[in-house]
Symmetry: C2
Subunit: 223 residues, 2 copies
């Protein structure tokens, strides 16, 4: 039997994982809306972000309530505080998916992404979706290995972000300024999406190992 | 005499205000580096961001320590949790100033901002600097009026952000794609800078009044 504190903490962990599932769906659908100029999907992603924000408030309130009732110390206290920080990062990932959907909506019925870069955006989406899935797994399992994988995925996302910028800046861009502005923002949104996943991963690594950051190779052996 | 808990909380509040001072200096200097293509200032803003990050960790650790030692409940607990969220927002404002400085550094010895939009960026900086000053005042005085002013400043910043985008998209942009990409990012950084100040303001309003958001007109009378 788990004690009351750990039962509450499990529930918070489940809700954080649920947030990652919602965010994964959001980035997948936002990208579909973007690449297929689908207004209906864009609208539904924008509307569904309220549910992510709401669940984040639920997690926050539950954490504060848990602090007040159980007055945890040491690692237990760190876990509750970390959960609040994670909720903030995951909620922000949802905002970024919403931003992608908003660009799709603003450009409708036109597309926002020229055909020759669509495959790169599609690749960014795949990496982002895998990354948020691993974020959920890392939270559910307090899994340092998954956290290390997240850092690798984020490197892949950064590399794709650089590819987009090289495409914009190689002097051969012929899709005009508006497409360049939109693509700059879109690429930045995916890049930031990855950063927030890394922030969650870093917090898990810190909780489990007491060391900061997923960059430290030593963690792979430590885990 | 203040009790030990409130003495600790005052110290945390002082450190948050100090963070806003550092961030105000960072955005002011980052903008100078950007508009004058000054590599030395750009480098010093980038280096100084570590100090902001460090102070944020100090605030976080102090908050966790305070929770563990004093086990506050009700409003006292809310204040400590809110301080952690504020530290996160203010640190992020510092990151955004650093991003502006990084664009200045990347473009050196060229400038990143065409002369005809420099005055708009200069205006964004003025608003941003006032906004972070008010954020410090609002934290120091738990001042709901200052918080309402922050929301107004943020509206001004959003309006300037729209002006930049109109300039980029009115079909008369003749500074090329690279300048458009940089200006898109720069304008976005100032806009996000404002959003984080509003997030801090919203938390102060919530602490003081128990209501969410600075948008609610009622708060002006309530305060």
């Amino acid at each position: 039997m788990r004690d009351a504190f750990h039962e509450d903490l499990d529930r918070i962990s489940d809700e954080l994982v649920e947030m990652t599932t919602m965010v994964g769906k959001a980035i997948q659908r936002a990208t579909a809306a973007l690449l297929n100029a689908d207004l209906g999907i864009a609208e539904s992603v924008i509307a569904a972000d309220d549910d992510i924000d709401e669940l984040r408030r639920t997690v926050d309130d539950r954490c504060v309530d848990l602090l007040a009732r159980q007055q945890p110390v040491a690692t237990d206290l760190r876990m509750v505080v970390t959960a609040m920080h994670m909720a903030s990062d995951i909620e922000r990932m949802g905002d970024l998916a919403r931003h992608v959907a908003k660009i799709a909506r603003r450009r409708y019925p036109e597309g926002a992404v020229p055909e020759d870069v669509a495959s790169i955006i599609s690749e960014m989406e795949k990496v982002a979706e895998g990354l948020v899935k691993k974020t959920g797994d890392a939270i559910a399992g307090k899994d340092v290995h998954a956290a290390v994988e997240i850092a690798k995925d984020d490197d892949a996302l950064d590399e794709l972000h650089r590819t987009i910028f090289n495409t914009l800046l190689d002097g051969k861009w012929d899709h005009g300024t508006e497409a360049a502005v939109n693509l700059t923002l879109i690429s930045r949104y995916y890049e930031r999406f990855g950063d927030h996943a890394v922030s969650v991963a870093d917090r898990i690594v810190y909780l489990v190992t007491g060391s900061y950051g997923t960059e430290d190779e030593g963690l792979i052996h430590q885990a």
